[in-house]
Symmetry: C2
Subunit: 293 residues, 2 copies
């Protein structure tokens, strides 16, 4: 169960996705409850963004906790729901046994346009692109953990990520393959390669990092490699024919969102990494592995 589900209803294309998070795995009891709520919504909306879909509703499965926690969670839900124009339509609330690990689920329903890209749509010869910058959420995590000091903007990339909904809708008609980067740029690119039945090559030197990330961790290849295997970016990874470069550049300016050309697709299989054209070995871990992929 990887991509979001696509359903045709009355001539419209619905996109449906469901993500679940558990205490101690996806969030800590000490995390601000409003941020947990925001992230639960953002993670699901990022799946819609990758399909070029606009959110039309959310359903929540909530396990009750301490009252102040519940209140703050609901406030975060309300904020994210309003911010992303994604109305909360319903759901379920349950009480867990005392001391139980709490878990939440969210279903997001979106309406897609005429074309719904998948991660399996890359074509040999395509250029591989990524939106925005990679690694800011890692920086935010290290700030949240008290390991480094850094600006609130990086902390926000970790706590209150902004799925690329507008970019996803604009890109869907132009791209071949598209997916969101949630578990790490390299592991997600590897999944795109496998789903498309192609080889993908990523030039590490071209992986886009932010000024803030560079200030904290430098901008050498080690810093870029760390960024590429960290998760929670919620950027879009997409492939497009080289002939689309002009339209993509115009769209990037219109959206005020950078698109970085980081690699290419070719016949073959698997993920390869290069630095300025020279092959380098992949890191041992490419990103966050789920229990079942």
């Amino acid at each position: 169960m990887d991509d979001a589900a696509v359903l045709d209803v009355g001539g419209k294309t619905l996109v449906l996705t469901h993500d679940m998070i558990a205490e101690g795995v996806h969030f800590l009891p000490s995390d601000p409850p409003g941020d947990v709520a925001w992230k639960l919504i953002a993670v699901n909306l990022s799946d819609l963004a990758a399909k070029g879909a606009r959110p039309i509703g959310l359903l929540l499965g909530y396990s009750l906790g301490e009252e102040a926690w519940n209140r703050a969670f609901v406030e975060g839900l309300r904020q994210a729901s309003a911010h992303f124009s994604a109305p909360l339509l319903g759901g379920d609330t349950i009480s867990m046994p005392p001391g139980a690990t709490r878990a939440f689920g969210l279903t997001a329903i979106g309406e897609a346009g005429a074309r719904v890209p998948s991660r399996a749509d890359a074509v040999a010869g395509d250029t591989l692109w990524v939106t925005g910058t990679i690694g800011d959420s890692l920086a935010g995590l290290r700030i949240a953990a008290g390991e480094v000091e850094g600006p609130a903007s990086l902390l926000a990339r970790y706590r209150r990520p902004e799925p690329r909904l507008q970019a996803g809708r604009a890109l869907a008609p132009l791209v071949h393959a598209m997916m969101d980067v949630s578990d790490g740029l390299l592991i997600d690119a590897g999944r795109m390669a496998a789903a498309s039945g192609l080889a993908l090559e990523i030039d590490l030197a071209r992986v886009p990092i932010s000024r803030g990330y560079a200030d904290l961790f430098g901008e050498d290849l080690r810093a870029r490699s760390d960024a590429s295997i960290a998760g929670d970016d919620y950027e879009l990874l997409f492939s497009a024919p080289a002939s689309e470069a002009g339209r993509l550049s115009a769209l990037s300016q219109e959206l005020r969102l950078a698109f970085a050309a980081i690699g290419t697709a070719s016949a073959g299989s698997g993920l390869r990494m290069t630095i300025g054209g020279e092959p380098v070995p992949l890191p041992r871990s490419l990103g966050y592995e789920h229990g079942i992929s």
Copy 2:
């Protein structure tokens, strides 16, 4: 968050519902995993049935357990999905920390007809009806717990309930209010009364019980009262004008499913119980109360 959500998409009416279940609350670690899966699906489809909707898809949020348990759960999912023609479209699988209370969520998406009844639609003067029989799931629970011996058919009503999907679709255009009976006939009727802003009166002597239930627990008023406050029936409770009695009777025969007239709606508020017309006090507990109603 009570009724299922209703969404208009491309001239079609979608019904969406999400229920969550947790180990130790809604199921026991010793319950057969395939039955837990079946029930998770059935509970959600019962919400669709009450809206007169036909299932078009399911999304699952699953927390991994022991391997044999996972396999048996997936097999139960597969069976229920095929039995109810409700395809599993996707979802999410997570690993919980060791020893954690496991929780599952299911979203069901259905397509409704031209009329989507709600629990708030009762009209003064309506007759109150319930499909099938009440209390069989209670009997099944007592058999499962080893408290009584009884037939497999009653155990199945508890373990593998059959939501009234076909009846719900046929009833939706005829009825005023409709809802499923999941937490107990009396508590659910009380919710219909509150949502409709009316008083509902139920004649306990007319609450339909099965031959099997009567064989185990008798058919006196105490037995009927116990049945009326037990949950997990997944029958449909509906109100309709007295003038519809003929069409309802014909439909009942066509569906080979009994409809019992158990009461009436009138101006006022709250739930009243009678026995052959004589008012009797309500039981102290009317059924299963959720953490948040």
